[in-house]
Subunit: 363 residues, 4 copies
């Protein structure tokens, strides 16, 4: 079995020309695609319609390619769009294909991937235990789908989750329900945080008993080291992509992960490499770098290594935008590459001010 | 003779408490201060009043310290405020003191610094040859003031220059004059570009005959490798700080420079170190890093190492803000420090998409 | 013959549920639709993808409704998206249908509408005489299509036109061509300005001999009183909708126009009403107001009735966004309605700081 | 006794040239000044340093004028800076002078004004009952200072209040205290809301028993119809200016107020005029309009008269900025004047989506 990851440039949120070309040249088989991650160039916040535009374009494209209804495509492929390419980040797609047809004995575990979806959430469930629990179950289903048996073999869980808008809050209120918060931008954090806690429970990093609605987006000592969650206006359910290494999968592609302890922690790259099967024999090069996924957020202390940052006090540019540009620059300087999947808002994802990082290489 | 450089944190544009403390503790002698550079937390663009607020606060403070009128302080100290601490950049002051009282024989050249000012510019002169020529003359005067005889011994020229506002453009028009451009944000680039070309001519990197009004902000093959120019609404003249190494100056502080060839060029740090007297024996550490000054701009090609960036097409965040956050992240990741003087808009300062970088160490 | 105009709310750039409902209820006949104008909620500037998202959604919808290819839909329907609903403006669609099947004798002229398209422009043609001339010809063709014989019977010409992006500028440069400007946001003004001058020539308000490339976006004494042009990243041609009153058209819908002399000129509503056939007998009410289209821009003087505005010096919010919010507020306060088609950037459209205004009533 | 109000233009946050001129020409007596309100051109949100820059400039200016220490000036004059001149709003100063020297019998009550200050607040008190109660007491003291005996004679209470920053929140946390919220922009609303509720209690519009920490920024049915509160980073206490009409005061200046029921409610101008002593005999003209103060906010319903607005879902421009530009446009269109003191964020100030409005005329 083999998971193949292809990284493609995008010149606009609806530019799928590189994808179409890769398919027409046989580099990608559309029937094997289980997930498309996209770094799109909107603000990554509430009114970022580049995510929905990209999703709409991709869904339609795959419906044509697979001769399926768009509804059927949605049951089959996770479209995880993360807005925001601040600083030098470059809009791109990461296409995940799974080929389960061939069985082989490999000397090393290889990249395994699986997707699952929750049901749609009501506004009052977002950022609360209902979202935690549904996400936990979806992660477990996605692991099974990927054939990953041990929680420790999971290296990264990428999730797309919904947010609250003024009209959603108001709709909940009309039914007599409160929501986790009233500010729409803030709701993105609640949704990301609850989703990340769901991953932590699913992977055994936290116990369900440790959690309560009050602790979500409040007790930062609770976090997952392998969750990356991204909120968007364009969906109401959680879409879950689980990535790990497992026996029986072709080690041509492998994944490693580490936690950036703070925004400047470039050594996380080395630790992620070391965590990978056979990682000690590898170095990251322009050729083998296939995907870099990482979370970024302003530290709540207002400081980075003792020096003040302004990310949280800036009312012109949201903190998550500052954080993406910073971590994007830190890692691009180290890797010489700007097509990095840096996602903003790391609530309950790694320690405060840091975040999980995953490295996918084509060995 | 000795040039001392002190780097101090600022918690707001008018926070000079760290400066006051350094003076009261004898770490800084206000009578020796020739320049204060400030990285302030505004947008770094047209309506950034943090620069003027900082300048106003500093001018007043030094008038009290030196028992001088503010006008006299302005003749003596250059206040070079650069707005914009996007990403993780940390607001800070760089205080330059010169002590010419003692003469000594030093084995190595040390940091030499001098300041000079042009006259106020009329709106129609900004971004044109008049600004180039006046800047050239001021650089020459600042070199003389620093006791730097050879053009090659200059490592960095930091300049603060004016910009056009709607009312300045309109005032020029009322006298029958056109201005270099009509967009106020764009005028910052013209002012920075003309000032940088003045540095290039003063330092022998370009010949006056190569220049014309048409080439300013148009022919990017013409540039200085040692100019860093920053535009602000708070002044009408150019303020020039020349930095170099010269014999007779205490090598306790030394400067080196290099050109970042593009926004990801972290190796410029190594080249700047190598360019420093005795640099081969040094490494940059948290202890000896005293100042890092660098220019950042979006590449006009729209790409970084072949991958698209969105900096120039983003109408929510100006390109110079994206560029500062990117280069700030790239260098902070390498140096582990966010108190970096990253200035946006590198027109005619280094190659397109890159920019000059200066490194000041306390050996 | 009859032109029908329907105004529909939109809850997102891709929300066409109100349109689908109007069709299913027989209020709109998709086979008669010649143009859809949309006020979408992006930034209205360069990287506003809400326009393209809306266009893509509408094009696909009409292809399904009409059982046509999307290419055929594009030959038939003009999709004129204008981004930016700052202040209280409300996203909405204006759907124009023409029914030429019935002939009748009407006592008054009624609303007549016609569309036409130019060819795609090369980057180097945008904002220059080539765009002026092609637009002029398209206006003439659209008049013919509307059956409007006299230039004076035209009340408004709404145009969607392209803009320059970093990659388009760079592509032109690679072929040895300069473009009208280098700043992408500024290019929107050049494209709008050249398109408006094309309208002015077509309608006899200016003579071709009065124009030159140099005068575009420079000589503000040259302008159309009936053009409204809006630039977007999502197209390369100009799409032209001509609106007027003509004999033989059902006066159930009528249009009037006037020029707002400055941003506060609410009396333009009264003058527009007075310019309408039978306007003296009408008042504008919540019931009969069917469409309000107007252009807004910051005055180049930097003042409104002698008081300074900050629109052009604000580097956080572009001037066209400020102008839309201002004029939107001015007219919403007068009309009690926020579903107004206020479009930003009035270069060569009305006097500096003002802009043409059209009022469509269902009498 | 007489309260005189002078409205002066400002060309920058530190431009007090019009004030200096008015004093030198005898139009303003600096010894009588009790308050200066300023509409400055920053973002009006957390990192708006134009307010502090203006305050710092004014405080220093009056210290020189009155030969007092700046600390003494602060005990004497309230400096109430409100950031944000979106749309067409024009930066300006409103200078309030009180001359208690002459006693006269006037046929009508005239404008009476008084100021008072609270103590500095700790971060954990902001947005909570402590701030409510201290504000209530300060309003009562300011009333006494103005010689206004009846609560009903108060027409407007303008308050400047503090906000939370990342470092203030973190400082409170270090002492074991929570704060009303964690988002710095959101904290502005809590501070404004608690301050407004303090006014409501002081003026008898609400009973202390009706309030609790939980109801602040949550139960919108509780509000003052006469409070206008504005938050800023530049102070830690509340500064209170009470305005009313009282017997014994020269009716040359008079104030009236009304509540805008929503953002489009221009009729509030008429009601405010009618509420003024002798208002029935007056009309508002360019000559007699001396001050217009009003609060603006996005309606929480997400709608204005049934049509959707995007103010609360826009992550590029904060909702309070949208609201100021909208209400500024609505009133400027009605009054033909853009020097209006429109302040953003009307939590517990008037009904949701609307806000109190005060009109000061020089009869």
């Amino acid at each position: 079995m083999k998971t193949r990851v292809t990284r493609l440039s995008a010149s606009a949120p609806d530019d799928i020309s590189t994808l179409a070309q890769a398919i027409s040249q046989g580099q990608i088989d559309p029937t094997r695609v289980i997930a498309v991650l996209g770094k799109t160039e909107g603000n990554g916040c509430v009114n970022d319609f580049t995510r929905a535009f990209a999703t709409s374009t991709l869904r339609r494209f795959f419906a044509q390619q697979l001769t399926l209804s768009e509804a059927k495509v949605e049951e089959r492929i996770a479209f995880v769009m993360s807005g925001g390419t601040e600083g030098g980040l470059s809009p791109h797609w990461l296409v995940f294909e799974v080929d389960a047809s061939e069985q082989a004995d490999y000397s090393l575990p290889g990249l395994a991937a699986g997707v699952a979806f929750t049901r749609d959430f009501k506004p009052e469930e977002i950022g609360r235990l209902e979202q935690v629990n549904e996400t936990r179950d979806a992660v477990t289903r996605a692991m099974a789908s990927a054939g990953i048996q041990h929680q420790d073999d999971v290296h990264f869980v990428q999730i797309k989750c919904p947010l609250l808008t003024a009209s959603r809050i108001s709709e909940a209120a009309s039914r007599g329900h409160t929501t986790a918060c009233h500010d729409t931008y803030e709701s993105m954090g609640y949704s990301r945080g609850a989703s990340a806690l769901g991953v932590a429970v699913a992977l055994g990093d936290l116990m369900e008993e440790q959690l309560s609605n009050e602790k979500i987006c409040s007790d930062w000592s609770l976090y997952s080291t392998r969750a990356s969650t991204s909120a968007g206006i364009e969906l109401l359910r959680n879409e879950v992509l689980v990535l790990g290494n497992a026996a029986g999968w072709d080690p041509a592609y492998r994944i490693g992960h580490a936690v950036m302890e703070d925004a400047l922690d470039t050594a996380a790259i080395d630790r992620a490499l070391a965590s990978m099967p056979g990682g000690a024999q590898l170095t990251v090069t322009a050729d083998n770098l296939t995907g870099l996924l990482v979370k970024a957020e302003p530290s709540a202390s207002g400081e980075i290594r003792g020096n003040r940052h302004v990310m949280s006090d800036d009312s012109d540019i949201n903190g998550s935008r500052h954080a993406r540009s910073l971590v994007g620059g830190v890692l691009a300087g180290r890797l010489g590459d700007t097509r990095l999947f840096v996602s903003g808002g790391a609530e309950h994802q790694g320690p405060n001010g840091g975040g999980p990082l995953a490295l996918i290489l084509r060995a």
